[in-house]
């Protein structure tokens, strides 16, 4: 046990000190910080735009006095612009000018105060006469177009309806239609299902983040372990190490040491996320995305940690075993390919199913040891899962981890002394029989 501690300490200290680790962690923290502050940056830039008056467009309306369409349009100017949302609201004001040759209009257009002007054609039949938008570049940008369209649509309606309907009737016409959903439950456990149906958005975000974080962490640390083992082999220090401590102690010391490195990296990332959220200008971010931390399920985090630990050890032990049978670092990439493939499946299956977490695929995947860590995490986070399912999945994962731990130890014991070409599976099996771990 004492030796194990020494190995864990040595592995941890040396890995944390490497430039690769420092730089990767730093880059991740920087990227995260930038990402989390993007909404703030956008606000800052928008705010500057507003100071230039870019967000409030003035559109001139050219019409004879008494044109009903023009008058309705002018009177409907700036509809429903609540004061508290002013930063994001696209606002247009209409101003009436007698003709396109008006001096004030021309001056306004030149200075950029007025974006363009509207003219009305001959009215033909009922409703709005054809409208033309004139501007310097002849373009109608998306936001302005939407605005004008809805404003003119309203004018059109009012022109046709006239005073046959009351204002409230007109308003009711414009109210969006809502469709409510209700799931029919056969088992009658409606209460429980309802709660899960409305998995809070924050849980989706957390599951998403955890999926990415765990995948990256497991892949990175796994590769670290196999690279470390192979380099110990190729630098031949392995022979000295193995005469100093049993291979089993070494393997577990290394796996645990690097586990701590991975955990520290996750902790650093979590800290930087928290620190960014704490920044005063970011206090509104969660609210902006309609996220509520209080809805976050603690169970998700606890299970997440358990699944991470088990998943990590399962993958790390296999990476260690693979690293031990390769003699040269150049051959390592090829040797870890199969296990990386499984790792990708573990990641992409739940990632692509994040909006449909209750498919058969995910249910099956959440019981298969190599894919269960992340698939089960998805189901716990945003899907429907019974406690017994979690328990069974965890037990399967735990047992598999132990089996593979034992197998990895045997392979490691055998592999670390095999030099030359990569041994075939048959050779490994034969050699393994010679050691009692």
């Amino acid at each position: 046990m004492n030796k194990m501690g020494t190995i864990i300490g040595f592995t941890f200290k040396n890995k944390v000190k490497t430039k690769a680790f420092l730089i990767t962690t730093l880059i991740m923290v920087i990227l995260l910080s930038i990402g989390m502050n993007i909404p703030y940056f956008i606000k800052v830039f928008k705010g500057e735009d507003k100071a230039d008056g870019g967000n409030r467009s003035q559109i001139a309306v050219i019409a004879e006095p008494g044109n009903p369409a023009a008058e309705l349009l002018l009177s409907s100017a700036a509809p429903a612009a609540p004061a508290d949302q002013e930063e994001d609201t696209f606002a247009v004001t209409f101003a009436s000018y007698p003709s396109a040759d008006d001096a004030a209009l021309k001056e306004g257009m030149d200075k950029g105060d007025i974006e363009g002007y509207l003219t009305f054609g001959e009215a033909s039949g009922e409703g709005l006469p054809p409208v033309t938008y004139h501007s310097e570049d002849g373009e109608l940008d998306g936001e302005l177009q939407t605005y004008l369209q809805s404003a003119l649509q309203a004018v059109n309606t009012q022109l046709i309806v006239g005073d046959k309907l009351t204002d409230s009737q007109v308003a009711a016409m414009y109210a969006p239609v809502t469709i409510a959903t209700q799931e029919l439950s056969a088992g009658g456990t409606q209460g429980g299902e309802e709660a899960e149906q409305t998995a809070a958005t924050i849980n989706y975000v957390v599951v998403y983040v955890l999926l990415i974080l765990f995948f990256m962490s497991i892949m990175m640390t796994g590769n670290m372990i196999s690279a470390e083992v192979t380099s110990e082999k190729s630098s031949r220090i392995m022979e000295i190490l193995i005469t100093s401590a049993s291979p089993l102690t070494q393997m577990f010391g290394k796996v645990i040491g690097i586990f701590l490195v991975g955990l520290m990296q996750i902790a650093i990332i979590a800290l930087s996320v928290t620190a960014n959220l704490m920044l005063p200008h970011n206090s509104g971010i969660l609210a902006d995305f309609e996220l509520d931390l209080s809805q976050l399920s603690i169970g998700l985090l606890v299970y997440g940690l358990i699944l991470y630990i088990l998943g990590y050890f399962l993958y790390a032990l296999i990476y260690a075993a693979v690293g031990s049978i390769v003699s040269r670092t150049e051959d390592l990439g090829q040797a870890v390919m199969p296990i990386m493939m499984i790792g990708f499946v573990n990641f992409y299956v739940p990632l692509f199913s994040i909006w449909s977490p209750d498919t058969t695929l995910i249910k099956v995947a959440s019981f298969i040891p190599f894919t269960s860590p992340l698939s089960m995490l998805l189901r716990i986070g945003v899907g429907q899962v019974a406690f017994w399912e979690i328990a069974v999945s965890l037990v399967i994962l735990l047992v598999t981890t132990f089996v593979f731990g034992w197998l990895a130890a045997k392979i490691y014991r055998t592999g670390v002394l095999m030099y030359g070409k990569r041994p075939s599976i048959k050779e490994i099996r034969k050699a393994m029989k010679a050691y009692k771990i």
Binding site: S235, R236, I237, I240, T243, S244
Partner: protein
């Protein structure tokens, strides 16, 4: 009680026998030479001694006891292809290795500093291995093998790749360790080192023991076949003496090969008749010759 004893040790890799029934005993404070051509089974034998691999048959006893993990603390190993972590500081990794072999961190540091001073390179304490020259890396490997004061030291080709000054330095160190009571199992291709350091040797050839024993006895058992003769003038007619198989003329005399010891006296008499004899010697066979003969014979 022998510090190390191998009894009829056999190791097979599949069909191939790597070591076939080796016996040897290393006394406390003795340097034991393990010789052999490449692939003769030296490294396999050493690995079995270190407990890296288990013998298929036979016994290895350490102070009369079989192998146990505690023994790892008492053993030091300098592998042939020595390696240390290239990117880790000398102090970090040697103290780490010493701690793995049961030394306290403080003692390990003291011991490391002693050895660095002994090799007159105290400034390497904070250097990374990759910053050192190959010879100096080897010295660090040697320190890693002895830093925890092992009782049994296994040196695989300890002196290969070193310059003569460093070979002397390491040789003196090895002798010093021997005098302090360390038992050393030593393998090399360089026979002159063996003659200087070892009392007993085993020569392995293709996994079999071909020669074993005390160097002096071994040499006696081989016929003396070389005569060195230095004279003032020329000695004609040496080829005519019965038993002389070859005559080599050198700058200051002759080197003669003889097939029977009796021929030597006739050579001397012949030379005295011819003129003044400055030097006459019947040479013991060198270990080099014995080695070549032993390994060569079994190869025929």
């Amino acid at each position: 009680m022998e510090a190390l004893k191998l009894e009829q040790v056999v190791k097979q890799y599949g069909e191939k026998t790597a070591v076939n029934g080796i016996n040897l005993k290393v006394e406390q404070g003795e340097i034991y030479g393990l010789l052999g051509a490449n692939g003769a089974g030296k490294t396999t034998t050493m690995r079995m001694v270190l407990g890296l691999i288990y013998p298929d048959e036979g016994k290895i006893l350490y102070n009369g006891k079989p192998f146990s993990n505690e023994l790892q603390h008492l053993m030091g190993y300098l592998p042939e292809e020595r390696g240390l972590y290239p990117k880790v500081k000398v102090s970090d990794q040697i103290i780490y290795l010493a701690r793995l072999r049961g030394m306290a961190a403080g003692d390990a540091e003291k011991s490391l500093r002693y050895w660095l001073d002994r090799f007159e390179v105290p400034e390497y304490y904070n250097k990374k291995i990759e910053e050192l020259s190959k010879g100096n890396q080897q010295k660090m490997g040697f320190i890693a093998a002895v830093v925890h004061k092992p009782q049994i030291l296994v040196l695989d080709e300890a002196f290969s790749g070193l310059d003569p000054v460093n070979v002397e330095l390491l040789k003196d160190t090895v002798k010093e360790l021997r005098d302090q009571g360390t038992s050393i199992l030593f393998s090399t291709h360089r026979m002159e080192h063996v003659e200087e350091l070892c009392r007993h040797i085993t020569i392995l050839d293709r996994s079999n023991t071909v020669v074993q024993g005390e160097i002096r006895e071994i040499k006696k058992s081989y016929p003396r076949e070389e005569v060195i003769l230095r004279t003032a003038g020329e000695v004609p007619g040496l080829e005519g003496i019965a038993g002389v198989t070859a005559v080599q003329r050198q700058e200051r005399g002759y080197v003669l090969s003889i097939s029977e010891i009796g021929a030597a006296q006739q050579i001397l008499q012949h030379a005295i008749v011819a003129g003044e004899v400055e030097h006459f010697e019947i040479k013991e066979p060198t270990l080099n010759q014995i080695f070549i003969r032993a390994v060569g014979e079994s190869n025929e």
